[in-house]
Amino acid sequence: MFKKIIEKSFEKSPWLFHINAGSCNACDIEFVATLTPRYDAERFGFKLTGTPRHADIIVVSGPVTEQSKDRVIRTIAQVPNPKVIVALGSCPASGNIFAGSYSVLHTLDYYVPVDVYVPGCSPKPEAIIDGLYKAVEILKNKRRDNK
C-alpha cells in the first residue's frame, strides 16, 4: 500500500535538474520562464532541484564543449535510474552555430541517450512544457518496464 502511494506520487511530481553544458543562456532563461507563474510548469508537479541525486528528468541546454563534457557525463551518471534526458534547444541536438568550433565536441546523443528533443533557438516556454509533458510519459513507461 505504502509503496503504491510512493509510486503514484513519483509520477505526479517529477523533479528537474538543469545542466548548462555551454549554452548562450537563452534556453536557460526560457526554461526559468517556464517555471515562473506566467507559464507555471509547477502546475504539473515539476520542481527544479539543486542536486542531480534527487532528479528524475535532466534538462540539458547548450552544446557539449571540451570543458563541460566530463562534467555533463559525470553529473548525468549521478542521477538514479530511471531517468529521462531532455535536450533543450538546437545546440545539444547538433551544435547549432557553435558546431565546428575548436571547443565544441560532439552532439549530446554521442555521449548519453537523449529521450526528448525540444528544438528551437530558443524554444518557446509552451514548447518546453510540451517537451516536459512527453518526458513524463517516457518516465512512466520506463518505471513500468523496470518493475
Binding site: A93, V118, P125
Partner: protein, 137 residues
Amino acid sequence: MNFPFVKEAVNSLFKKPSTERYPFVKKEAPLGYRGRILFKSDKCIGCGMCIRVCAPGAITKSTKKTDDGEEITMNFFMGRCTFCQMCADFCPRGAIELTNEFSMITEDKSNLNVSGTFIKKLPPKQQAGSQTISKQV
C-alpha cells in the same frame, strides 16, 4: 505607517491568475514568429543561396542524375537551425517560409528534417558546330 501595496494586494485577490493555461488552451505564436520551416520544392531552382547564408549550416543539397535532368533534394535540419530567417529572406524564389509552428517535440532526431525534392531539367544539348558559332566566324 502606510502600506503602499495593500490596494494592489486586495485587487489581486479578485483577479484571475495570470498563468496561461497552455496545454488545455491552445496558443497561437505571435505574428512574425519564426518556427518550423516550410519548403516549397516546386518553387526552388536549386541556386544554393540559402546554403550560403545559413550560419549553422543546417541546409544540405544533394543531387542525383536522372533521365530527364537532375533530381535535387534540399534538406533543412531543424535540429541545427537558429530560425534566423536569412534563408527565406535571401531566397530569390520565395521557396522557404518559416511557419508559426513552435512545438517540434520529438524523440527521434530524424523527424526534424524538412526536405523537398524536385527535378531540374537540363538545357537541351547543342549540336557540335551549331549555327551560332558558324555565324560568328
